[in-house]
Symmetry: C2
Subunit: 218 residues, 2 copies
């Protein structure tokens, strides 16, 4: 339908990956472990950053780069209050973060004070999966009220991530969510995926996530 678009996007993605590789090298040199955190809008990305920063800030200082499609910097402000050094990126309507946005944002963070960097992507289950940012691990948050069919409907996102957090498990009694069906879909796409069922609201399950982070970033 639009034959001109494909080569242009491919060129852009290849340029993006070069910038992502530079970012990775920079983070490695600083001894910073980094996450690309992706999810639907409202799945709990910022709540997870808050919980993580509060728990780890003394032992593993957290930096946060947050992408949103608008000027509203609520997420960066929430993370900052929780103890994470935070930078807000306005993507200007773009549906995902790109490596150059993250590179530029990192210039504003005192990297020598950070041990764990969380890059909170734009709320979107489709586009962010195509863009490398330079992070060490990609983390997807699924949310119970989104429904149990999401792995089947967003296979590219589910198959490309390193860690899955299943958030809002406190809502399981109030919605129709077949955990077996959900997990079967995940397992088919991404066998052996590291998974943490949690509630960022009640705190349930977060210890295992924090232990995993400590073991990776140590």
């Amino acid at each position: 339908m639009n034959p001109i678009r494909i080569p242009v996007v491919e060129k852009v993605l290849s340029a993006n990956d070069s910038v992502a590789a530079e970012t990775r090298a920079r983070l490695d040199a600083q001894g910073i472990f980094s996450l690309n955190l992706m999810a639907s809008p409202g799945a709990g990305k910022t709540s997870l950053v808050e919980r993580t920063a509060r728990a780890l800030k003394d032992s593993l200082p957290v930096g946060m780069v947050n992408g949103d499609t608008s000027e509203a910097a609520f997420d960066a402000e929430r993370s900052q209050r929780a103890g994470a050094l935070s930078v807000h990126i306005n993507t200007g309507g773009k549906c995902h973060l790109e490596a150059a946005m993250v590179r530029d944002a990192l210039k504003l963070l005192p990297l020598e004070q950070i041990r764990l960097l969380i890059i909170e992507n734009v709320g979107n289950l489709v586009c962010p999966s195509a863009w490398q940012l330079g992070a060490h691990r990609s983390v997807l948050i699924a949310s119970i009220p989104e429904g149990d069919d999401k792995p089947y409907k967003y296979p590219k996102m589910y198959s490309g991530v390193d860690v899955l957090i299943i958030n809002k498990i406190d809502l399981l009694p109030y919605v129709d969510f077949r955990m077996d069906y959900f997990r079967r879909g995940v397992e088919t796409l991404n066998p052996g995926l590291i998974t943490f069922p949690v509630s960022c609201r009640t705190g349930e399950g977060l210890d295992a996530w924090l232990d995993w982070l400590r073991s990776r970033a140590a």
Copy 2:
């Protein structure tokens, strides 16, 4: 950063709008009222189509075109079982429907048997807002567990729609959602927006939505 992208995308959008205008003319000629239904993943798009088709199928036969990023045609199958003549579009990973996809899908529907057409877009609060499809009204579903900050964070989507459905109000007792704050954000972006608070799970609030549809499609 990527200066070549903007003109290309503009050309594509303009071509898209021409196809959308053709679709609109075709629907008008058939006397079909049509909706472009947008929301985050899991906000309840298909549940709303099911409820709507079940309630209206005898008086206002429903057709449904569903865009998903994969081959999984669950949503089209659910809608078909609820009485809507349904077509599934695999966008091949694309994050939104485009007018040409809808035009081609409509060739597969017996339009003379349909009075109400619901186009269920890809679950995404960013990209679909930029692509006209030819529908008469754009409808956004917000979902209570997504949180009350979404209008502030996805202003382009909230400001561009004609109707807002606030779904999963049955979950209000179990989450932190300030309805006043949410509605203030909506009102600033889109004053006087027609709004229906509903629960597709319990059926609460759906009568007002169905009445509105009957009045528009009559």
